[in-house]
Symmetry: C2
Subunit: 136 residues, 2 copies
């Protein structure tokens, strides 16, 4: 399925910016921040637009958001099984504490955890911190 169909399937209108951001995410090995996207985008687009595009992707289940070590949001394209209702996101992430880059790691089996009474568990991920190859 091409990306136009993918956008349509998730109820989003097809625009140049959305198509470009979507392929950017799909072709990246790392999770990208909004300013990463802004810098790498072939065309130029307003920051607010990029903010809303990424937000729309997350809401639509096209991307998920992960906070980097500096508290900045980064986005990575979702597995095809993600939907609006249920993000499939139980993998592990590596966070470089120096440059802030976030990498998806191989899937690992996460331990089950007890939460206090009344708490609702949704998803969980393992966060590994350290230095990436470039910063180590």
């Amino acid at each position: 399925m091409d990306n136009k169909a993918l956008l349509h399937k998730h109820g989003l209108r097809i625009t140049d910016t959305r198509l470009a951001v979507l392929s950017l995410l799909q072709n990246s090995s790392k999770a990208l921040s909004q300013s990463d996207v802004e810098r790498s985008l072939p065309q130029q687009a307003d920051r607010v637009t990029l903010f809303r595009v990424l937000q729309a992707f997350e809401d639509a289940g096209l991307a998920h958001k992960v906070m980097d070590a500096h508290g900045v949001a980064r986005y990575a394209s979702c597995a095809p099984t993600c939907s609006t209702e249920q993000h499939q996101d139980s993998h592990a992430h590596f966070h470089c504490t120096q440059c802030g880059d976030v990498y998806c790691l191989e899937d690992v089996e996460l331990p089950k955890v007890k939460v206090p009474k009344g708490f609702k568990q949704q998803e969980s991920h393992l966060e590994v911190e350290g230095r990436c190859a470039a910063c180590a």
Copy 2:
């Protein structure tokens, strides 16, 4: 050991603000953001001072920092075994995606993870997301 001695042991001068922030962290079941601290502090203190106090605590191994679901730094007092060189922080945290509160969970055994060549692993923690009792 009282908190004055604790500060001294970690190489920090004893000030009213530091003592107050330290007990605040020790008596909280949740990790506190800088503005949480500012609001809960019996005395008033400049936000820059609180920023630096929390930063000093982290550097000294008196508190650790964890990012909440909104990318805001939150601090929790360290186990007595923490030091400047090595934070003991392999437990799990619960992040409420609505109010942003962060709770420490019981210790769990974390799975070992392979990281790409050249990457240096430092610490890792399990992040469980969902809604806390108040928000669910």
